[in-house]
């Protein structure tokens, strides 16, 4: 059998939250990918919305570039949002 393309699945758990990556699956096209995502990833009442995208369309940063991409931010603690207390009533940010 010709292998079906791989799709990355994003589910939004409740209104107001963002879609989160939950995993991947195989499907021949986008509509079937949505159906399969519904059956594989939302059967325990996880979702209110599904996004799917072809895994091959994701452009990822290269692990070799970790140093130049991320190290410079480590020493700039004044940018890190760790000095603020988030009030309870704000909830998730």
């Amino acid at each position: 059998m010709t292998e079906w393309p791989l799709w990355e699945i994003f589910i939004r758990g409740q209104h107001g939250m963002s879609h989160r990556h939950v995993g991947s699956l195989h499907a021949p096209d986008a509509e079937i990918a949505i159906n399969n995502a519904r059956d594989v990833y939302t059967r325990r009442n996880e979702g209110v919305s599904i996004w799917v995208m072809k895994s091959s369309d994701i452009v990822a940063s290269s692990p070799d570039q970790k140093g130049p991409l991320f190290d410079p931010a480590q020493s700039k603690t004044y940018r890190h949002p760790t000095f603020f207390e988030i009030p309870e009533e704000i909830g998730k940010m």
């Binding site: 079906w4 195989h26 096209d29 079937i32 519904r38 059956d39």
Partner: protein, 250 residues
């Protein structure tokens, strides 16, 4: 108790029970993981619906029989499912075709039953309708893709359609029980269901490039308890554990 209403509810319950049981046989055997999960989900939806219909059938009958009693301790002639659902699974494409033919009728049936004058029936139909709508969306999508896929997939779906089409007549033909149910208000409007089922069938089959033969003889009998030879094996598999160990629990 109303004998006709009991019959009517057994038809609803038995058709969903048997097609659910048949789909369950694919669990762990479907051609791809995603389809395996999907087919098992559908089977569970349908068995859940069967539980509700048969539970209510038992109450209407008034002899204290539960849904399990009806599912496991009736013999072949007492089952009222349509013949379509007891047709063999065959290959996966044939199962999908059987499912599509069923779903395309099941959805309008449940839509009509939502306006039943019996609040129990309309409540079950309302819950089941959402599941059936998804089942049809899924099976119709797959029938279209396989119908328009390769020459091989097209031919297999065409053969499955020709083999199963003679069993669609029974879904939309109304007999005395259907007539009484409709006249008394608790049953569904059979004319509307027939129109909508035919519409659903022809729309998807046209899109899938599949054709039915017009002059085929339709087969019926399941709704009155006359089942095909293979039905005994389906029941044997489904009922053997409950009969060997009555009252067994998880």
């Amino acid at each position: 108790m109303s004998a006709e209403k009991f019959e009517y509810l057994c038809r609803l319950g038995d058709s969903t029970l048997i097609i659910g049981q048949q789909l369950g046989k694919w669990c762990g055997h479907a051609p791809i993981l995603e389809e395996d999960i999907a087919v098992a989900n559908t089977a569970l939806d349908l068995i859940g619906q069967a539980t509700m219909w048969l539970d209510y059938a038992g109450k209407v009958e008034g002899k204290g029989r539960t849904a399990d009693d009806l599912a496991y301790f009736r013999d072949s002639r007492a089952f009222r499912n349509v013949l379509l659902v007891e047709q063999p699974n065959g290959e996966f494409g044939a199962t999908l075709m059987r499912q599509f033919l069923f779903d395309a009728w099941h959805l309008p049936l449940l839509e009509q039953l939502q306006s039943s004058t019996d609040p129990e029936i309309s409540a079950i139909a309302e819950k089941a309708e959402k599941e059936a709508r998804y089942h049809l969306r899924r099976s119709a999508s797959l029938v279209k893709r396989l119908g328009l896929g390769t020459d091989d997939s097209h031919q297999r779906m065409q053969e499955a359609l020709l083999a199963l089409w003679p069993f669609t007549g029974e879904l939309i033909e109304a007999d005395d029980i259907d007539g009484i149910a409709q006249a008394e208000g608790y049953g569904a409007d059979t004319v509307t269901i027939a129109e909508e089922a035919c519409g659903n069938w022809s729309k998807t089959l046209l899109q899938a490039g599949l054709v039915v033969s017009e002059d085929v003889g339709m087969r019926s009998g399941g709704k009155t308890g006359l089942h095909s030879e293979g039905f005994g094996y389906i029941l044997a598999e489904m009922q053997s554990l409950a009969r060997a160990m009555p009252g067994a629990k998880w």
